[in-house]
């Protein structure tokens, strides 16, 4: 452990602040305070786990998110905590040298290395929509993922297909878990993923030796166990009925609820409101734009249009909101029965008139008789 202590000293980090960091990490992962020493032990261990980070149909947003890491920072992650043996965006080697590096790790640490996947995998047209070193992403994933000890899908694309899988999914893009049935895949959706959830997951794995508890969509509960809406700093305005009606209006400037501007916080499970982004600085709702629901499967289709509460009715065009079509259903129903009533009246007009006349005659007769 001397090396690690040396490193802490080199970073000007006291033992005390290090333990504080560990307990903060523990709090984020919702583990009891008694676990702090175990977390510290996991971080101090000299056995930096090898990591192969593959990028397929990605925009590199998750890698950029990684570069914003602060606990530990990306420098510390790379030098002290992980052995990032393959990551196309940061690695020094290229071409054959890069491939060699990957294969060495896969052989030497078979069944042990951490495999992190960014970007969806196109299965259409036999996988030609994404190739690296002449091999398809599908083949690479099956090899790299198949021999990994832990698989983490970072971002919505690798978790559920994300943007490339949005309708009509031109390349047949899928998420990692669809191609690795039977393997445990930890999904860290988000567009991009919040790096603090990645470091939290890795530290959880190093600390407890197992993957964190996950929900039905393979998301760790410590990060995706609650709805944005239920944690939102603007929730009070929602319940009170204080809503932003126009961008830049009084309510918008006063931080009122963005519900009417299409915020998808009520439909999204993510820890943005508590964790926030860029070291707790802000997050979309705080900055005045509604949540887009980026941590939910298929959100590029289900959470859109972005500025409406609900998806449009499929097949009726951009302006076919649920309300308009719903109103049309009621209107059509009213029209059908109004017509039916009118036709019925017309068809029975003769009888009705006859009955009226007879009734009048009867009344007259009765009255006359009484007289």
């Amino acid at each position: 452990m001397t090396d690690f202590k040396g490193m802490l000293a080199a970073h000007n980090i006291s033992r005390r602040s290090f333990l504080k960091y560990c307990s903060a990490l523990g709090a984020m992962m919702a583990v009891p305070a008694t676990m702090t020493p175990r977390i510290a032990a996991a971080l101090e261990s000299d056995n930096r786990p090898p990591v192969i980070w593959m990028e397929f149909q990605s925009c590199t947003g998750d890698t950029e998110s990684l570069l914003r890491a602060n606990r530990p920072s990306v420098g510390e992650l790379i030098l002290d905590h992980l052995s990032l043996d393959y990551h196309e965006t940061v690695m020094a080697a290229a071409g054959d040298q890069a491939e060699a590096s990957k294969h060495a790790t896969m052989e030497k640490f078979k069944g042990q290395y951490i495999c992190i996947i960014e970007g969806s995998i196109p299965v259409g047209a036999d996988g030609v929509y994404c190739t690296i070193a002449g091999q398809t992403a599908v083949d690479i994933l099956k090899k790299v993922g198949g021999d990994a000890g832990l698989i983490i899908a970072v971002g919505s694309c690798s978790s559920y297909g994300g943007l490339p899988a949005a309708y009509p999914n031109p390349t047949g893009a899928v998420g990692v878990s669809e191609l690795l049935p039977g393997k445990t895949v930890i999904n860290l959706p988000g567009c991009p993923m919040n790096v603090d959830n990645l470091t939290g997951t890795i530290v959880h794995y190093l600390t407890f030796g197992s993957a964190p508890a996950m929900d039905r969509f393979g998301r760790p509960k410590f990060a995706y166990g609650k709805r944005i809406h239920d944690n939102c700093e603007r929730r009070g305005h929602f319940d009170a009925g204080q809503y932003v009606e126009n961008w830049g209006d009084h309510g918008h400037r006063q931080g009122w609820c963005l519900y009417k501007m299409g915020c998808k916080g009520p439909a999204s499970f993510h820890n943005c409101p508590t964790l926030r982004w860029n070291e707790g600085l802000s997050w979309p709702v705080m900055a005045g734009h509604g949540c887009v629901g980026c941590s939910e499967p298929g959100f590029f289709d289900t959470m859109m249009p972005m500025y409406q509460r609900l998806p449009n009715v499929p097949g009726f065009g951009v302006e076919a909101s649920a309300l308009k079509i719903g109103g049309a259903i009621v209107g059509a129903s009213a029209a059908v029965f109004a017509t039916h009533g009118a036709v019925t009246m017309a068809r029975n007009w003769k009888q009705v008139n006859q009955a009226k006349t007879e009734t009048r005659e009867m009344i007259k007769e009765t009255t006359d008789a009484e007289k």
Binding site: A10, L82, L84, D85, C130, A166, R253, N278
Partner: protein, 570 residues
């Protein structure tokens, strides 16, 4: 004897790039650049709400994470004829500005530096001499012997573990690595410092844009970040002070580290001022509107076209002259692959005809890339910081001219050296410098306008689709960190009918056109010496000087094509 080599994956870039090159007598004689990943975002955009498009296009790229959202909202604003409030214009400028600064910084230190810096050699450096070197080039605060000793120990301990992680199989000890050990150690220190600085300064985007990567406060018609000095939920004096602090931090690092580093390293690699020039055609769309008339008026960074390196003739940009070819791209045109199409008419059907994976070589005589071949006036163009700096320099832009002359003077060379691999890297540094100095002007303009009581951030007039014409089309341009970016949108019946983006890396990474003229990457590689074909570091240097961004480069609008599968309703 010609020898064909392949670099795939080209790393330390965004996305998936493959280079094939033939080498004769240690010099590259021909090259092919291939984009090997495709997503089809434009197909996905069809029939969606134009107001949502920016969120999709933003995901073209997570590195230049703001640029496609800006180009997209500008295209829709252009189509619907929306003028945005001055405040929103300034906020966009600040977001764009810091994007450029941070992106260039990451590029130089984390994507490009390892082409020039030998990390392993840093271990043999003398920390005392390194400290002296640092102190001689700038007043930067981290310059003590003890500091460099600490860095060296840290790297030493790291190397001793035997697990080099991302530095495994780097080009350490390569004949083309020429920096002295001390300069290498200093660069390693700056590599680590820049990792910290970049995540700090980009917080400006978190403040104004909610988060980074992929800020989320863009709106067609303005921005969604409220401003109000008397609200705790809006941009107020405190938030402005935070932004100022981050600008100051960026300025300090650029002035005291980035620029001095470029000036210190460049003399060791001056031969690269004669390599990698390529076609010498440069295109800049211009950007950063400063006046009250709003975009696209009163650009701070001028627009223009330079042909054949002729700086005396700056031509105006005419978007009508832009066409895209697919002769060597895995797409089909209905009217034959020999014709060029303007983006409005951009009709494309993806069709892979390359070798069946796994393959060793592409069929470079035919189609070989997912990137299309954009041409301006039928000429391949280079876009990026170099194009912007050259256009601004030749147009007599004061800040640019002064800074370029200063840098060239210090290096003792003329402007002709800019047409090169080194020139690209230098232009990027120069741009970062003038940009970081410009940022506070935009912030000041925003503050001054707030002072007048104008808190408007969004033009609501055309927000509701009911206020739109049935049909509209427009284009939006933006000068992204990697160069001239254009989005074209055709709106039909209030939804997107056609969406096309011609992005910087498509210009630069373009394959050949019908006339067989190479793209700029390909042309730039011609004549590059390769010391060791097994370790083609030199290819990386020129490629990295462009700062490739492949995910942006490849996209497709597929009107008649058959989607591979239907989306499930999730």
């Amino acid at each position: 004897m010609a020898n064909k080599i392949v670099v795939d994956p080209v790393t330390r870039i965004e996305g998936h790039l493959r280079i094939e090159a033939t080498i004769e007598n240690g010099v590259i004689t021909d090259a092919w650049s291939s984009a090997t990943m495709f997503r089809g975002v434009e197909t996905i955009l069809k029939d969606r709400d134009p107001r949502d498009a920016w969120y999709y296009t933003q995901r073209f790229c997570g590195v230049c994470t703001t640029v496609h959202s800006l180009a997209s909202i500008r295209a829709v604003e252009n189509a619907l004829n929306i003028q945005i409030p001055f405040n929103a214009e300034m906020i966009r400028n600040i977001i764009m500005g810091i994007q450029n600064v941070q992106d260039h910084m990451i590029h130089f230190y984390h994507l490009h530096a390892l082409d020039w810096v030998d990390v392993v050699s840093a271990l043999s450096a003398d920390p005392k001499k390194t400290a002296a070197l640092q102190q001689s080039i700038s007043p930067w605060k981290f310059s003590s012997e003890k500091y460099f000793q600490g860095i060296q120990n840290r790297v030493g301990a790291f190397v001793k573990t035997g697990k080099l992680g991302p530095f495994t199989n780097g080009y350490w000890g390569h004949a083309a690595m020429k920096l002295p050990a001390e300069a290498n150690l200093m660069a390693v220190a700056h590599y680590l410092e820049a990792l910290h600085i970049q995540k700090e300064i980009i917080k400006i985007q978190a403040i104004l844009g909610s988060k980074n990567p992929h800020p989320q406060t863009f709106l067609v018609g303005g921005m969604s970040i409220p401003i109000d000095p008397n609200s705790q939920n809006a941009i107020n004096a405190d938030k402005i002070a935070q932004i100022r602090q981050h600008i100051a931090m960026a300025k300090e690092f650029v002035e005291q580290v980035y620029i001095p580093d470029v000036l210190a390293v460049a003399p060791f690699y001056l031969e690269w001022a004669g390599i990698g020039g390529g076609h010498k055609n440069y295109l800049s769309f211009g950007d950063f509107p400063e006046g009250r008339r709003g975009y696209p008026n009163d650009f701070w960074m001028p627009a223009g076209v330079i042909m054949n390196g002729d700086l005396s003739n700056i031509m105006p940009v005419d978007q009508q002259k832009i066409t895209e070819y697919v002769t060597h791209s895995w797409y089909e045109y209905s009217a034959g692959d020999g014709v060029g199409k303007h983006p409005y008419e951009g009709e494309t059907n993806g069709k892979y005809t390359g070798p069946k994976p796994p393959y060793d070589f592409l069929d470079t005589d035919n189609k070989y890339s997912w990137a299309k071949a954009p041409r301006y006036d039928d000429k391949p163009m280079e876009v990026g910081p170099l194009s912007r700096m050259l256009v601004a320099y030749a147009s007599g832009h004061k800040e640019v001219t002064d800074t370029v002359n200063l840098v060239l003077g210090k290096l003792g060379v003329g402007p002709e050296v800019l047409f090169s691999t080194l020139g690209r890297t230098a232009a990027r540094a120069i741009e970062t410098l003038i940009m970081v100095n410009k940022m506070s002007d935009w912030l000041d303009a925003l503050v001054a306008n707030m002072k007048t009581g104008d808190y408007s951030i969004h033009n609501n007039e055309k927000w509701e689709p009911s206020s739109w014409p049935a049909n509209a089309r427009g284009y939006g341009f933006h000068e992204a960190p990697r160069g001239a970016l254009g989005h074209w949108v055709v709106i039909d019946n209030k939804s997107i009918k056609n969406y096309q983006a011609v992005v910087p890396t498509t210009w630069n990474a373009s394959p050949r056109d019908p006339a067989g003229v190479r793209g700029q990457y390909e042309e730039s590689l011609i004549g590059t010496p390769i010391a060791d074909p097994q370790r083609p570091l030199e290819i990386l240097r020129t490629m990295h000087s462009f700062d490739p961004c492949m995910a942006c480069a490849v996209h497709l609008y597929d009107e008649g094509g058959n989607p591979v599968s239907k989306a499930k309703i999730l």
